[in-house]
Assembly symmetry: C2
Homo-oligomer: 114 residues x 2
């Protein structure tokens, strides 16, 4: 790792053409990413369908997450987290345009949580 003590909320980009994904740590079974969204959302009809389990938390900003087949969106603000099992289709329905939304996302293969 090049940065032993990353500061995830400093020097944030403000207007991004696409979401910015920075890998913070990787082992064979675990990956930690910082994702910065500036008003981005998934395209209409697009669903993430991931082989890995994901646990994600919003560090700053606001976002709405939607699972396929669910009518309700889940609104996430700072400190709000979600576990997304492998192959549970989901999309980012909305992120606030008024400030960067910073996500911390963990991905791992293999066992689901107990």
């Amino acid at each position: 790792m090049t940065v032993a003590h990353p500061r995830l909320l400093q020097q944030l980009p403000t207007a991004l053409a696409e979401e910015q994904v920075d890998e913070l740590l990787r082992t064979p079974n675990l990956r930690i990413e910082r994702i910065v969204s500036t008003g981005h959302a998934s395209p209409e009809g697009f669903w993430y369908d991931q082989a890995d389990h994901e646990w994600v938390i919003v560090l700053s900003g606001r976002a709405k997450l939607r699972y396929e087949g669910d009518a309700d969106e889940i609104e996430l603000g700072p400190g709000d987290a979600a576990f997304i099992p492998a192959h549970r289709k989901h999309q980012v329905a909305w992120t606030t345009p008024s400030e960067p939304t910073v996500w911390l996302a963990l991905f791992w293969s293999g066992d689901a949580p107990f």
Copy 2:
């Protein structure tokens, strides 16, 4: 999991006799915890010596981390993270007394990061 979408910065305890540790997720190889400190620090001369690797990030508050043999402390505020390899002795030198310090900590066994 009893709480699918935990809100880690809500309804925080304010004056704790000891640090409060809540396990958020567990698999055979990965554990995610929220730790709330209200001015707590490691006892003088105490060092954590963990079999697991740890990656920790401060979500709110402020803290200082010290590694054994290092003169300098690492000050962490919101969004600041640290990777602590297994058996790297460390202590929490300080947490702010003026607000709860909320840590998100990941622990895993096995491979170190690339």
